[in-house]
Amino acid sequence: MIDPAIETLEIDLLQKAIADRYGYDFSNYSPASFKRRVVAYVKKSGHTRISDLIPPLLHDRNLFRSFLYAVSVTVTEMFRDPQVYKILREKVIPVLKTYPSIKVWHAGCATGEEAYSSAILFAEEGLADRVQIYATDINEESLHIASEGIYPIEKIKEYTQNYQQSGGRGSFSDYYHARYEAVIMNQDLRKRLTFSSHNLVSDGSFGAMHLIFCRNVLIYFDETLQNRALNLFSQSLVPKGFLCLGTKESLLFSTVKDRFRIIAEREKCFQLK
C-alpha cells in the first residue's frame, strides 16, 4: 500500500530536482491535481514510485520534455464557453474598436485553439488589420502544434457548434481547409498570431495589452501563484484594459480585486479601473 505522506515527500523532492536542473518551479501548483498527473506519468513510463522518476529526469533533457508535456494539461477547445465570446462581441470589442492598434495576450494558450478563436472574432469585427495576438505557454510541444495550426478533423463538428453559439457571423468552414484527417487554419488568421514561450511562475510582464485571456490556467495554481499571475496581468494591461478568466475562476478573492471592475460575472470578464 502506497502511503500518501511518503508520496508528498517524493513530490517535493521531484519538484526540487526539476527546479534546480531545468528552472521550472511547480511548487506552487495545486498539489492534488499535480500529483495525479505525475502519478499517471509514473505508471505510463513503467515506473513504480514517484521518486523513480528523479534520476532519469535529471539526466535526460528529452525525457523532461515529455514529462513537461504530460504534466501540463493540454485540454482545450475552439470557442470554449461560447457565451464568453458573445460577451466579448457585445461589451469588449466596441471599446477596443476605439484604439488604432490592439494587442491581445493569451496566457496559457495550450495548443492554440483559444487564440485562433479570438483571431476569428477580431476578423469578423473588422479588426483583422489592427490586432496583434500574442499567445504563450510553458509547453514547447503545445506551442509547436499551435503555430502549425493543424487540428484533428473530428473536433470540427463540436467547434462549429461552439462557433455558432458564440454569435459567429459567418460560416466556420471559411476559416480552415480540410485535408484528409486534419484541418489547417487559414493563413490570414495565422498571420495575426505570435506563439512564444512564457512562464507565469517566473517571467515578467508583457507590455501594454488591451485584452488578456488567461482561462483555465489559474485553477492549477495555489493562491500565491494565482496572485502573482494576476498582478502580472494588471501590470501588463493598458488602463481600462480587459481581463478574461476561465468561467470557474475568479479574482474576487485575490490581492488585485480592487483594481478591476466586473464586466460580466458569469463569463468572468473584468476591466482594469
Partner: protein
C-alpha cells in the same frame, strides 16, 4: 467506529450517474439541518448543464444547503457541494476544493474516481464514500482507495438502482462496508457522523 456521539467522520463524498440524481434526493431527504459533516457530490452531467441550477432544483428536497463547488473553497460542515459540469472536482489536504479540466477519466468529467481518490488521500480515516446508481464503472476504483486509507464505504443496493452497473462494479471489487437502499444510506450516514435526528 468509536463511541456514539463522538464525531469520527468529517466528510462524505457521493457519486452517481444515471439514476443517481433520484437516489441522491432520497438520501438527502433523511439528513437533518444540523448534519455535522460536509458533503461533496459528483453527478455525471451534460457538459453544458449548470450545476448551480441543479443545486437550486435539489434544494427543494434537502434541509441542508446546496451549492456548486468553487475552486479553492474550504469545505464547511452541513453544506452540500455539487461538482460543476465539465470540470473534475478534487479535494486538497488543506480541506479545500480544486478544479481541473484534465482529460476525462472513465469517459467522465467530472469523474467520481477523481473526487474519491483525492478525498481518500486528503481526509483518510474521516471520510465516507457513497456510490449510487449509474451505468458506468466510475467510482469503483475510488471507493477501494477510500477503504484502503481507512475510510468507510457505502453502496446503493443494485436492486434499488435504476442502473445497477455502477453499484455492481464496486461491489464486485469487495471491501464495501454496507449495501443499502438510498434512504437507508441517508440514515446510516446520520449514525456514522453522529448527528442527532
Amino acid at each position: 467506529m468509536t463511541k456514539q456521539g463522538v464525531q469520527t467522520y468529517s466528510t462524505v463524498v457521493i457519486g452517481g450517474s444515471a439514476g443517481g440524481r433520484e437516489a441522491l434526493i432520497e438520501l438527502l431527504a433523511q439528513l437533518p439541518e444540523n448534519f455535522p459533516a460536509a458533503i461533496a457530490v459528483v453527478l455525471h452531467l451534460h457538459p453544458h448543464s449548470d450545476a448551480a441550477d441543479m443545486a437550486r432544483t435539489l434544494q427543494k428536497h434537502s434541509r441542508l444547503p446546496l451549492q456548486e463547488a468553487a475552486e479553492k473553497e474550504r469545505l464547511r460542515p452541513g453544506q452540500v457541494y455539487l461538482a460543476p459540469a465539465n470540470y473534475h472536482l478534487l479535494l486538497e489536504s488543506d480541506g479545500r476544493f480544486a478544479l481541473t479540466i484534465d482529460a476525462k477519466v472513465n469517459y467522465s468529467r467530472p469523474s467520481i474516481d477523481v473526487l474519491f481518490e483525492t478525498a481518500a488521500e486528503a481526509i483518510q480515516k474521516k471520510l465516507i464514500g457513497v456510490l449510487l446508481s449509474g451505468a458506468s464503472s466510475d467510482g469503483a476504483e475510488g471507493l477501494m482507495r477510500i477503504k484502503a486509507l481507512g475510510g468507510y464505504t457505502l453502496v446503493q443496493d443494485p436492486a434499488t438502482a435504476s442502473s445497477s452497473m455502477m453499484p455492481g462494479a464496486a461491489i464486485s471489487r469487495g471491501g464495501i462496508d454496507q449495501i443499502l437502499p438510498p434512504a437507508e444510506i441517508g440514515r446510516s450516514l446520520l449514525q456514522l457522523v453522529g448527528g442527532k435526528n
